[in-house]
Amino acid sequence: MNLEVLGISVLWIFLFGYVIVASIDFGAGFFNAYSLLTDRSHILTEIIKRYLSPVWEVTNVFLVFFFVGIVGFFPQTAFYYGTILLVPVSISLVLLGIRGSYYAFESYGSAGHKGYAFAYGLAGLLIPASLSVVFTISEGGFVEVVDGHPVLDYWKLYTSPLSWSIVLLSISAVLYISAVFLTWYAWKAKDIDASNLMRKYALIWSIPLIITAFGIIVELRGHNVEHYENIIAIWPLFALSGLLFLVTVWLIWKKRSYGLAVILLILQFFFAFFAYGGSHYPYLLYPYLTIHEGFTNKEMAIALVIVFILGLCLLLPSLYLLFRLFLFNKDYVTGKSNDHA
C-alpha cells in the first residue's frame, strides 16, 4: 500500500468516527428538542444528558483531526476546498459554535432554557446538511476553474436533485444512528420508556434512509458515470451493508439484542462508508484533484505517519479509559452515581 492510500484511509477512518459519534450527538439534540415540543422531555432528557456529558468535547476533536489531517496529507485540498467552501463551511462553523457552547452553558449555567434547546436541536439537523455539501461537490460538476482559481456555482448546487438527496440521506442517517444507539443506551440504563420511544424513532427513520441511499446511486448514473460504474463494480460491499441494515432493523423490530444491533449498525455504515470512499478513488475533487496529485511531499508524509502512530498509542488507551468509566460503567449508566463537578 502506498502512502497516499494509507493517508486517505486513516483520514477516512477518523471521518467515519466523527460521523458516528456526531450523529449520536446531533440526533440526541434533535430528539431532546422534539420531546420538549411534545411534552415527553421527562422521558428522554435525563438519559441523553447522562450519555453526552463526558463526551461532548471529544466529538468535536474527531472533526478537527480530520480537517487538520487532510491539509497535512493533501495540502492542495486547502487550495481547492478552502476556496470553494468559504460560505457553506462558515455556516457550519457558526452552527457548531452554537451547539458546542450550548451544552456547557445548559448543563452548568441556565438549565432548561427552551429557546436555546430548540436552536440546539435544529442546529443538529442543519450541521449534517451543511457539511454534506462537501460530498456533493466532490462528485464534480459544481466547480469551474476560472483564471486558475476554483469557483463554486451555487445556483447549480442548490437546484441539483443530487445535493438535496445527499442532504436528506445525511439527516435520516443522523436520526437513525442516534435512535438505534439511544435505544440500546436507554435499555441498558433500565429506562424502558425512553428505550421504547427511541425504538419507535429508529424504525421510522430507517425508511427514508434506505430510500435516499438507493436514490443517490441511481442519480449518480446521470451525474458522474465513472463513479457510478465504480460503485457497481464493488456492489457486494454495498449489498453486505444493506444486509446488515436489514438485520439491525429486524432486531430492533423484535426488541431483541439491542447491543448487537448497535454493533451491526456501526458495521453497516462502516462498509457503506468505505465502499463509497473506495469507489470515489482516486479523486478528492472530481475531476480536478486526485489523491496522487494532491499528496504532500514524502518527508512530511513519513513524519505524519510516525506521529499518527505515536498519537494512537496515547489515544486508544485514553479512549478505552473514558468508555470504561462512563459508557460501560453500570453505576454511571443507570444513574446511581452522578459525580459531576
Binding site: E57, V64, F67, G72, F79, S90, L93, Y108, G311, L321
Partner: protein
Amino acid sequence: MINESTVFWSRVLTETTLSFHIIYATIGVGVPLMIMIAQWVGYRNNDEHYILLARRWARGFVITVAVGVVTGTAIGLQLSLLWPNFMELAGQVISLPLFMETFAFFFEAIFLGIYLYTWDRFDSQKKHMLLLIPVAIGASMSAVFITIVNSFMNAPQGFDIVNGKLVNIQPLIAMFNPAMPTKVTHVLVTAFMTAAFILASIAAFRLLKGSNHIYHKKALYLVMKCGLIFSIASAIIGDFSGKYLAEYQPEKLAAAEWHFETEKGADLILFGVMNDGEVKYEITIPYGLSILAFSNPMAEVMGLNEFPEDERPPLYIHYLFNLMVFIGMFMVLVSLVYLVGKWRGWSFIASKWYRWVVVAGGPLSVIAIEAGWWLAEVGRQPWILRGIMRTEQGATTSGNVDLMLLLFCILYIVLGIGSIVVLSRMFRSNPIEKEIEDRESEKGGEVR
C-alpha cells in the same frame, strides 16, 4: 487579480476570530495548571478549602473551554477558508506541529471529561488529582505546537525553493526554527501569568463584595504567589524575545521602537506620539535599545530605513509594545507589593483601593496578551510567511468574506455575552459559604 477588499476582510475576520479565541485559549492553557496546583496543595495539606477551590475553578473552566473549543475549531478551518494559497504552501512544511496539536487537544479533552465527571468517584483524592496531569500537559502542549506553527510564519526554514517549488523539506528543521524557543516559552508563561491574575481578580472581587471568608484569602495568596513567579519569568523571556528580534527580524523591532537610523548606542523610546513623522512627548532611555537588543550599550541596532518602504510594518505597533511591557511590569509590581506586604504585615494590601488594583490585574493581563499578539502579528506585515509570501498572495479569491465577518461577529457576541452571564450566574447562585455548608451536610450521605 487578487481583490484588495477580500484581502482586507480576510485579515479583519482572522484578527477578530483570533482576538476572541485567545482570551479563552489563554485561560484554557493557564487555568488547568492552577487547578492542578490548588488540588495538590489541598491534597498535601489535607485542606478542604483548596480542594473546593480546584473544584469551583474547574466548573467555571468548563464554560471557557467550550467557547475556546468552538472558536478554535473556527480558526482552524478559517486558515484554509481565508488563506487557501498560504495553507497549500505551508501545509507541505508545517502540518506536522498542526497535526500534533490536535493530538494534544484530543488527549486533554478526554481527561478533562473524566476529571469533571468523577468527583467523589474514586476512593482517594490522589487518583482524581492524577487526572489533572494529562489535562495540564495536553493544554500546555497544544499551546506549544500551535505556537510553533506561528513561529514558522515568522522565521520560515526547513525547505528550499527551486523554480518556485518547495523541495528538500525537513519537517523538524521547520519546527525548530529560530523564533520557536522564545515564542513558545513567552506564550506559555504569559498564559500562566494571565490565568493566575484572572483568578486573583475573582478572589479579590469576592473579598471586596463583602464575603470575608478565609477561602478567598487563601485563594488570593496562592494565585498572587504564582502570578509573581510567572510575571517575572514573562519579563525575562520577553527580554530574550527582543534579542531574537534584533538578530532575526530587525524590521519588527525597529518599527516597535521607532528606530529609523542604524546606529551604535541606540536610545530606547518609551511612550510618545507620532505626528507627521515627528516623535513627541517621548521618554528616551539612552543606550536602552542597544542593551535590550544585544546586552551591550554600544552595539549597533539596525534602523527601519534599511528596509524598502513596502516591506516595513506599520508604525502603530509601538503603542502595542508599550502597552504590553507596561502592563507586564505593573503586574510584577502589584504581586510583589502584595506578597511583601503579606509577609511584613502591611495593612494597606487588605485595603479597598489595593484590592481594586488586584481586581484590575486580570483584565489588564488579558489586554497585555491581546496587545502582545497584535504586536507580533502586525509586526510581520506585509508578510504572511516572512520573506517568502506576502499576505495578499495567501488570501482567498472567493467573495462574500465581508458577509462571513458579520456572521461570525454575531456568533462571538452571543458566545461572549453567554459565557459571562452563565459564569456570573453560576457563582452568584452558589457562593462558597453555601457550598461548604452543603458539603458538610452531605458528608456520609450520597454526594452529588
